[in-house]
């Protein structure tokens, strides 16, 4: 059974379609990445999945419970970490955890809270107001509060935004530890390195799910050719290449350029034709996930116009 199985989800605000016919599934115990540009509908989709929003059409199951009729059961077994810190800043760390533990009817709740505080290493600071914590600690507290009731499914909405690299690394280690114990995780993110830490990824843009699969499947599925171009006048070359036939994107990577196109043959012809005139050398490279996403974004921006 899949932890998440939703079909044809549609969510509209007025005449704006925020989620457009999204069908996706997340297998039990897997870490699934949810990617897409700002305003692409990630948060809305996650909110529909945890019962915070009702879909205009479409439906499905989360943890085997129907999205429309069994929202209460879903809420009991799902942990949802919001994008913005949404615990009570005027309650202390311990009081926040007390509140969550009791709402989930954990018994004896004090013991759960004590264990959580211990794991977090916040026992000595438990009387501190949550509002006075730094961004990284708020994120850790939020995660701890979300998993206190041992949910089967964890929904994380851009959990690492504004968190330093070390805290991000630790955060992901924890996510992997949780998944190893059988928890299913759906995590939305902007970061490519985080996407590569997921078992599978889903790419959504302007409400449309454009790709799903493992990182390699998504890269292969995009059918892109990437050439690495090296030369002296890298900036001039970049400018010149941009408008040539077969070139979809040119992105600088250190001293080289990644030139990406959908048609490998046309692209290599173009590069061959201009290599002498512009004084560069080139070779076929690996298409990265980022190249694929930028391609997706460029394409869907075209579709919007």
């Amino acid at each position: 059974m899949n932890a998440i199985d939703v079909q044809n989800l549609v969510k509209r605000y007025g005449d704006k379609t925020v989620v457009n016919d999204v069908t996706m599934s997340v297998a039990e115990g897997e870490i699934s990445g949810f990617l897409g540009p700002n305003g692409s509908g990630k948060t809305t989709t996650i909110r529909v999945m945890c019962g915070l929003l009702t879909a205009d059409s479409g439906g499905g199951t989360v943890l085997g419970f129907d999205l429309k009729t069994e929202q209460h059961k879903i809420k009991n077994q799902v942990g949802y970490m919001t994008q913005k810190f949404s615990f009570y800043e005027d309650l202390s760390i311990e009081e926040n955890l007390d509140f969550v533990a009791r709402l989930h009817q954990l018994s004896p709740y004090k013991q759960y809270v004590r264990e959580t505080l211990d794991t977090l290493g916040l026992t000595s600071r438990r009387h501190q107001l949550a509002g006075s914590l730094s961004g990284g600690w708020k994120q850790r507290l939020a995660l701890a509060a979300c998993i206190m009731h041992k949910p089967k499914l964890l929904l994380l909405d851009e959990p690492t935004a504004g968190v330093d690299p070390k805290a991000r690394r630790e955060f992901w280690d924890e996510i992997h530890a949780l998944a190893a114990n059988g928890m299913t995780v759906l995590v939305s993110t902007h970061y490519m390195d985080e996407a590569e830490r997921c078992h599978r990824i889903n790419y959504i843009s302007y409400g449309n799910l454009l790709a799903s699969g493992t990182v390699q499947e998504v890269i292969d599925g995009a059918h892109l050719a990437t050439f690495v171009v090296e030369g002296q006048q890298i900036n001039t070359v970049a400018k010149a290449l941009k408008s040539l036939p077969g070139v979809d994107q040119v992105a600088p990577f250190g001293n080289s350029l990644h030139v990406v196109g959908q048609d490998e043959k046309q692209l290599s012809q173009t590069l061959a034709r201009h290599s002498n005139e512009l004084a560069y050398s080139y070779h076929l490279g690996e298409t990265s996930l980022e190249d694929v996403f930028i391609q997706f974004m460029a394409n869907s921006a075209d579709n919007m116009q």
Binding site: L52, L53, Y80, T82, K84, S86, F99, S107
Partner: protein
């Protein structure tokens, strides 16, 4: 695990709300300080039957009749002659700028005309911009003045004989024989103070969560609409209880307002009223999108309820349509209960009707709030 209601979850919400309320020092202090401050301020300040109003006397004659009349007027307690023997022009200026509320003009031939047996006229000009200021003072005027003159003439005995056959009207002011405004105002203030704090605080209950972004989290956790509502309003019942104690004790100690009726009956009435108020506030918070809107809605409700409930002006004195509007405010019905029980010593039979209406308000607001509450962010 109960799907609709769990005591454990309610207790969690109650604990959280109580801590938040306690930690918001300014609001918490306000909830306890406001009732006392308002009670003292309004209790002492508002007076529907004002006494010792400043008056100016315009006269040229210094005869015994004028003196007798002035003394008699001052004896009523309504007049205090702050300006004596001013010119008509000065008097005009005094009443125009509000320095005096009355100008009493005694003609220069006043004494001569009395002795001649004419009916001399004196002119009393009253500043009637606030009718309630003038009414009491004016009503005492003519009888007091003519009695004073008769006495000065030594004709009192004769006058009494003459008027012996005339109708005598005996007025008893009941429940508040001395006509002490505070007896009316203080019980009313209890209702007004409760309404002010209870509705305002609870009207922000949900909008505060929405504005702080905590609503999303709260809704994602398994708390039901009923639990959230009770969690939000019950702590305010406790605050209300404190306010009630403060006001009732102050009413007794500071204003000596009589407690004629049964305390349990009064407290029952108060409990129902406060429940109606917190649920009204909560209903407002399900409608408002921001705390600012909640505040505006609350004030939109306050003013008509103050003016049309019978707190400020006599309810029966309003036109019928205004009375109908007045009936829509819980405060109106509470005022009937509290005044009847405190001042008249009414029993349950006598206040059954307003009590039932208050109960209906409570249930009505709770239903609307539960129906309006969205368990999603749509």
């Amino acid at each position: 695990m109960n799907r609709f209601f769990s005591l454990v979850r309610l207790l969690a919400l109650l604990a959280k709300e109580t801590i938040q309320m306690r930690r918001d020092h300014i609001t918490f202090g306000m909830m306890l300080g406001v009732p006392l401050m308002q009670l003292i301020l309004f209790g002492f300040a508002i007076n529907n039957d004002p006494k010792a109003l400043p008056a100016a006397l315009v006269t040229n004659s210094h005869d015994q009749y004028t003196r007798a009349m002035v003394t008699a007027l001052e004896m009523t307690g309504y007049y205090r002659f702050s300006h004596i023997a001013v010119s008509p022009a000065e008097a005009e200026a005094l009443i125009a700028d509000g320095s005096v509320s009355f100008v009493v003009t005694v003609p220069s031939d006043f004494a001569r005309r009395i002795e001649r047996g004419d009916r001399p006229q004196i002119l009393v000009e009253a500043d009637a911009t606030d009718p309630s200021v003038a009414s009491g003072a004016i009503s005492t005027l003519s009888s007091v003045a003519s009695k004073a003159i008769s006495r000065a003439q030594g004709l009192e005995a004769q006058l009494a004989r003459q008027k012996g056959q005339q109708l005598e009207v005996v007025v008893h002011k009941r429940y508040n024989p001395e006509g002490i405004t505070q007896y009316n105002i203080v019980p009313g203030l209890l209702g007004v103070i409760l309404q002010m704090t209870m509705v305002m605080m609870t009207s922000m209950a949900l909008t505060r969560e929405t504005e702080r972004g905590t609503m999303e989290n709260l809704l994602a956790m398994p708390a039901t609409s009923l639990e959230i509502m009770l969690g939000k309003v019950l702590p305010y019942l406790a605050v209300g209880a404190v306010q009630v104690s403060v006001v009732l004790i102050a009413a007794k100690l500071l204003f000596n307002v009589p407690f004629a009726g049964s305390m349990p009956l009064l407290l029952t009435g108060i409990l129902i009223f406060v429940s109606a108020l917190v649920l009204l506030g909560y209903t407002i918070s399900t409608v408002a999108k921001t705390q600012m809107q909640a505040m505006q809605l609350t004030f939109f409700y306050f003013l008509p309820s103050l003016l049309l409930s019978g707190f400020m002006f006599p309810f029966r004195g309003m036109p019928i349509w205004a009375q109908y509007i007045g009936e829509m405010f819980p405060l109106t019905h509470f005022l009937r209960v509290v005044r009847a029980v405190m001042l008249k010593g009414a029993d349950y039979q006598a206040v059954q009707k307003p009590m039932s209406v208050l109960l209906l308000f409570t249930l009505g607001f709770a239903t609307i709030a539960l129906l309006r509450f969205r368990k999603t962010l749509d």
